[in-house]
């Protein structure tokens, strides 16, 4: 018997009581950024009001309290993703910084150069494309990618040729931010490791929504971000397998990441400090710890089950609307609560504008995943994305909005 109560969850999110253009807010843009519960906001405010000081460099009481809270947040995140140790959790600014960190530092560690190959996919967010293009430009390596099938999955038909002895790094999205597809990466991870390549997974869309364990995934790195998982902006995470992080050279240089510095030479701190140069986003990291507490108290299994129900309801509702075409998988199996669609060829900006007038907040455009739009032959898509606070009433409001769009532009 499920104990999940969406009304009780919603009561934790003050913003959900807002009105937009005279209508109750219907927030369907959580894949972009999620809303924050009072439990997270309160922890951040309390830290700023009572414990604020810099971390890792003060002997005074406030500095000690702040350091303890910051490291406590790291330990919470480690437990949340099933990491072997908090030392495997590197705080970054966001997923993008985490991905760039690996592209730089793993590229250097592996001595990536001409003749080497990096493998990504056609399903990636720009943040998992551009850093690899830059790496290839710096080193002369070649960028290759998995295609996407018509139904919105990774095309693994050429796996053994694509991932080969020249492959140094495979970097893939775990759950697509535009199609919602959850990639079963087990075969690709196995093949990559067979040829000696490292595997990075962009888990920005999966960690917030699924129970996830880094040991089960089998990758060498994962990246995700706080603001998509009821936490604040400005804080992201790179998880790296301990043995890999130990050999990884630094990315940014500065304070806190060193062991000793002379003017001639510097030796570096052990991970995770080696990758956290400068004053980190302290309050934000602590807020992420509070977000992890919040999600864990409800239970990731419960959250995932709720989102599967909402996604099934949304897919069915959209399928019943004339003129609506959903991109990607048409049933909840193998996908998460991010649904992109087309309405009668009407431009997504116009769709989004009419929906906004009715209080419905969706994302429109290429979703920083232009190759996916190109794959499906459109310049842009309209995307509705769900979370633990999404209700079937909100899906109904979306459907009414889409009918209004067709009336205006029909």
């Amino acid at each position: 018997m499920s104990s999940f109560d969406v009304a009780r969850v919603r009561a934790d999110f003050p913003i959900l009581g807002r009105e937009i253009n005279g209508h109750p807010l219907v927030y369907l843009d959580s894949a972009n950024t999620s809303q924050k519960p009072v439990q997270v906001l309160d922890v951040m405010r309390a830290h700023a009001e009572q414990h604020n000081a810099n971390v890792s460099r003060s002997v005074h009481t406030l500095g000690t309290e702040s350091t303890a809270a910051y490291e406590d947040a790291r330990a919470k995140v480690a437990t949340f993703i099933g990491a072997a140790s908090p030392d495997e959790v590197v705080f970054t600014k966001n997923s993008t910084e985490a991905l760039n960190l690996v592209a730089h530092s793993a590229g250097e560690m592996l001595g990536v150069g001409p003749g080497d190959e990096i493998v990504i996919s056609e399903m990636e967010h720009h943040s998992n494309i551009v850093p690899w293009q830059l790496l290839c430009r710096r080193t002369g390596a070649t960028l290759r990618w998995f295609g996407v099938t018509d139904d919105g999955r990774l095309d693994e038909s050429t796996l053994d040729e694509l991932v080969n002895e020249r492959t140094k790094i495979v970097s893939l999205v775990h759950m697509s931010n535009i199609l919602g597809t959850i990639n079963d990466v087990s075969r690709i991870v196995a093949r990559a490791h067979q040829v000696g390549a490292l595997v990075l997974l962009d888990c920005s869309q999966s960690v917030p929504h699924l129970p996830l364990s880094v040991s089960a995934l089998g990758a060498d790195f994962i990246a995700f971000t706080g603001h998509k998982m009821v936490g604040p902006t400005g804080i992201g995470v790179l998880w790296g397998r301990g043995a890999v992080l130990a050999d990884l050279p630094p990315f940014l240089g500065g304070g806190s990441m060193i062991e000793t510095v002379t003017l001639e030479h510097t030796t570096f701190a052990a991970p995770p400090a080696r990758f956290e140069a400068g004053t980190p986003p302290i309050t934000e990291a602590i807020g992420l710890g509070a977000a992890v507490d919040y999600l864990s108290a409800i239970g990731m299994d419960e959250i995932h089950r709720h989102e599967q129900e909402i996604t099934g309801y949304a897919l069915k509702t959209l399928a019943d609307l004339p003129g609506v075409r959903v991109f990607g998988l048409g049933t909840p199996e193998g996908r998460g609560g991010t649904v992109s669609f087309d309405v009668d060829g009407i431009h997504p900006h116009d769709v989004g504008q009419i929906l906004d007038d009715l209080g419905v907040q969706v994302r429109v455009g290429h979703h920083c995943a232009r190759p996916v739009c190109a794959r499906f032959g459109v310049a842009a898509m309209t995307r509705a994305s769900f979370y633990l606070y999404t209700t079937t009433d909100e899906i109904d409001a979306l459907a009414r909005g889409i009918e209004q769009v067709r009336r205006v532009f029909g």
Binding site: H349, Q353, D357, G365, H366, C373, A379, A380
Partner: protein, 148 residues
């Protein structure tokens, strides 16, 4: 509220665009993209502005704006065209505070409501900015500030 943004005149231009399609000969061409949404427009102008042709893909606002631009600027002498251009840019950047002059702008006054939607101002301006580049490349006149 939506009626102010999506005026009938805008929807008409969107559904039945005027002068669409790239034509030759032309004196200058410009291709502009809105990187946040991927909307695109290509505009060609003849040096005497006797023809302004365009093609593109995008939302109703950007595509209707191109159609209105074609109607309002084709055949004007360069100084007059730049005056309309300047008035349109001022209207779009006026956050809804600028009173449009229908004598100068014609159908383009229908876009007054767009100025209240900062996210959409770029859509309306896309063809006008492309026009300006195309006109410069074609060597059309000089801007009114310089002639004044």
């Amino acid at each position: 509220m939506m009626d102010q943004l999506y005026q009938e005149i805008i929807l008409d231009h969107y559904k039945h665009p005027h002068g669409r399609g790239l034509r030759s000969p032309f004196g200058g061409e410009a291709h502009h993209v809105n990187p946040t949404c991927g909307d695109e427009i290509t505009i060609r102008v003849t040096t005497d502005l006797s023809d302004i042709s365009y093609d593109g893909m995008g939302c109703s606002i950007s595509q209707a704006s191109a159609s209105v631009l074609h109607d309002q600027l084709t055949g004007l002498d360069p100084a007059a065209a730049f005056r309309v251009h300047e008035a349109f840019v001022e209207l779009m950047q006026g956050r809804g505070q600028v009173e449009p002059d229908e004598d100068v702008l014609g159908d383009a006054v229908a876009f007054a409501g767009v100025a209240r939607y900062p996210a959409r101002v770029k859509c309306a301006l896309l063809p006008w900015m492309a026009f300006k580049d195309a006109a410069v490349r074609a060597g059309v006149g000089v801007s009114p500030e310089v002639t004044a």
